[in-house]
């Protein structure tokens, strides 16, 4: 067992699936000789050759469209968006073509679209986005956002094996900052749609995912130390399908819930979760469902501005205190 970074975990997961299933292949910009800007696919061209690691023109829409066509025929393409922000260029293809293919015409379209997402890295407005809300809304797409190395590996493998299109949003801040001992087990699989209790607690629940999980854990630690508050951190891991049962179960234990995400607030995932909690467990609420999210502005570049606009651990601390005192 060796320490594996979040980034290596993704690479391992992809490589293992390519090894296991000859139908799996990769396409994206600069994923071959370069290995992608963050080196997620480093070494895979050498290992699997240019018919399974395909460098494409700068054409996100064509990458996804071509992946869809190949997927209809039984292949299992994994597309890289060089930065996940550019997934916007393939929005029509993803939402109108890929997402609807099975429903419209029984076309199986098992593909994965993955790429570096998220902020806290001074990337400015176009290299820091979390585009989950843009796709959450389209029936037919699954959506996962790992926070740990283990989940990064387990979810990429499950995503590749899934028979539906899966958007896999990896967080670039975690790439090399998060590592853990992973068994050399090629069957680390994390099922889509299952949340994980990242830390158990009984005073209140923070529902979150991706990089924000680490901020929530930091906040929980501090609240424990400074306030004697026991905060449960629920790492959703998948946004679609959403593990409603895990959210409700946690809420039933704590009766207070904070939803935290890095993306901007209005129209974000937190709204959906708040509505579901109302529908599924209203009577268990001892305080309003509250959100901690980025401010509703494009993400600025200057460090103090980025830090101000994005939610930080101390914001979670403050919000948890507010909820606990309610």
């Amino acid at each position: 067992m060796a320490e594996t970074t979040y980034l290596e975990a993704i690479r391992q997961g992809i490589a293992e699936e390519m090894e296991r299933d000859p139908r799996v292949f990769l396409l994206g910009e600069d994923i071959g000789a370069l290995g992608g800007p963050f080196r997620v696919t480093e070494g895979l061209l050498d290992r699997f050759g240019p018919t399974r690691v395909i460098d494409t023109p700068v054409s996100e829409l064509a990458i996804v469209g071509a992946a869809a066509g190949a997927a209809h025929m039984g292949l299992r393409p994994v597309c890289e968006m060089q930065f996940i922000d550019f997934i916007a260029c393939a929005y029509d293809m993803i939402t109108n073509y890929v997402a609807t293919a099975r429903y419209r015409g029984g076309l199986s379209t098992p593909l994965v679209i993955r790429g570096p997402s998220g902020g806290y890295v001074r990337g400015g407005p176009f290299h820091s986005q979390n585009p989950e809300a843009a796709f959450l809304h389209t029936p037919g797409l699954k959506l996962v956002c790992p926070a740990t190395a283990r989940d990064a590996k387990g979810l990429i493998k499950s995503a590749i094996r899934d028979d539906d299109p899966v958007l896999y949003f990896e967080h670039k801040y975690l790439y090399r900052r998060v590592k853990e001992d992973l068994p050399a087990d090629p069957e680390i699989l994390v099922p889509l749609g299952s949340a994980r209790v990242a830390r158990a607690g009984h005073h209140l629940t923070v529902v979150t995912w991706s990089a924000m999980v680490w901020k929530a854990l930091e906040a929980a630690e501090r609240l424990d130390r400074e306030d004697g508050l026991s905060v449960e951190v629920l790492d959703l891991r998948s946004l679609v399908p959403l593990d409603d049962a895990a959210i409700v179960a946690s809420l039933q234990r704590t009766n207070r819930v904070l939803i935290a995400h890095e993306d901007t607030r209005t129209g974000g995932m937190a709204g959906e979760i708040a509505a579901r909690i109302n529908e599924l467990a209203f009577e268990w609420l001892d305080a309003p469902v509250r959100r901690v999210c980025a401010h509703d502005v494009p993400l600025p570049y200057a460090p103090p501005l980025e830090d101000y606009i994005l939610p930080q651990a101390e914001d979670l601390v403050a919000a948890c205190r507010w909820l606990a005192n309610y």
Binding site: S59, A62, M93, R102, P139, D163, L280, W284
Partner: protein
């Protein structure tokens, strides 16, 4: 899919088409036209649920190009490629059912008109966003290439669709990857009301080919043999590993964009001129003139078309719409069906009360 060569008839047969093939081209064009005419009647009667899109005057380009494919090849049609789909084996029964949203329609009432697929028979239905099918067919033919199968894909684009980003990205991708894809541009003069000169400043649409490093050819889209021949050549090149070709077929959309379109935007006389260039009438004259077919042969095909269309219509006209319960299945493989919304499956009482607590308010 030409059958084996034969040499009946006084003039030599064109290219590699047999007399049987020549009759088949006629049959598919007639089938297209008659089927659409029946659909017009059904549309007037309110039996066609949505819009109706004619290919009147374009039957040759659709049929001739599709006929250049072999079994195992795949095409993706546009709204005016009913003829292409028929060549690939789509049936009048399926088409009637689609337009009338019948339960037994290929998409079980989910999609409209000829938006349906059968990968076995070799057609992949379009979606509405123009240009989308070019990258998707680049992917299908990438699959052919990656798996070393000698199969070819054909995708249609209109003069309008060529303005989309999807067309550009897809064609460029196909060209760089040298996939076995033939791209047929049907220049029918209009995108809805927009004439081709307001769609592009290029002198000819085929002039775009060089920009992708591709061979480009232009042909008379109203000459079914010509459309067959240029496509056949491109298909052969693609199959041999020569990569994509861009073909421009020049034709004319003689009906409005859809049935409700009164074509108010047409310059005087233009439509009438093209009526003199009907692809079926032209081909009929040629078949007879060259001695490739007799009047009786063609009469037999005409009768067969009528019988088939009538039979299909009779069979499905009274079929039911799909049952509402079917609407929730198949968004995902897993889960196989969505839950009905709560207000449809009304719970007798709220199910989320805290145990033992009285209800609010």
């Amino acid at each position: 899919m030409p059958s084996s060569r034969s040499t009946a008839g006084p003039q030599p047969l064109p290219t590699d088409l047999s007399a049987t093939d020549l009759l088949a081209l006629y049959y598919y064009m007639r089938l297209t036209r008659v089927l659409e005419e029946r659909l017009v009647a059904l549309h007037r009667q309110g039996k066609v649920v949505g819009g109706l899109f004619r290919s009147l005057g374009q039957e040759a380009d659709a049929v001739g190009s599709a006929y250049a494919l072999e079994p195992g090849d795949m095409l993706s049609p546009l709204i005016r490629n009913l003829g292409s789909m028929l060549v690939q084996g789509a049936t009048p029964l399926e088409v009637f059912r689609q337009y009338m949203a019948k339960a037994e329609s290929p998409t079980a009432g989910r999609e409209l008109n000829i938006h349906f697929s059968d990968l076995e028979r070799g057609f992949l239905g379009q979606v509405s966003s123009l240009g989308t099918m070019v990258p998707v067919m680049a992917g299908i033919t990438l699959y052919f290439k990656l798996t070393d199968q000698p199969r070819v894909g054909l995708v249609y684009v209109g003069d309008g669709a060529m303005s989309t980003g999807a067309f550009h990205e897809g064609l460029n991708f196909a060209a760089v990857q040298r996939v076995p894809l033939v791209v047929v541009c049907e220049n029918n003069g209009y995108a809805y009301s927009t004439p081709t000169r307001m769609q592009t400043a290029a002198a000819r649409l085929v002039d775009k080919a060089a920009g992708y490093g591709l061979p480009g050819v232009r042909a008379d889209g109203n000459d079914v043999v010509a459309t067959y021949e240029v496509t056949r050549e491109a298909v052969t090149r693609a199959r041999a590993g020569g990569g994509p070709t861009l073909i421009e077929l020049v034709t004319y959309r003689r009906k409005g964009h859809a049935e409700h379109d009164d074509q108010r935007y047409l310059p005087a006389g233009e439509l009438e001129a093209w009526e003199q260039n009907d692809p079926i009438a032209r081909y009929r004259d040629r078949l007879i003139g060259a001695g490739w077919a007799g009047v009786e042969d063609l009469g037999r095909e005409d009768a067969r078309v009528e019988t088939e269309v009538d039979g299909a219509l009779a069979r499905c006209i009274d079929e039911p719409f799909p049952a509402i319960g079917t609407a929730l299945s198949g968004v995902f493989a897993d889960p196989p069906a969505a839950e009905p919304e709560w207000y449809r499956a009304l719970p007798g009482a709220p199910s989320d009360r805290r145990a033992g607590e009285p209800p609010h308010g």
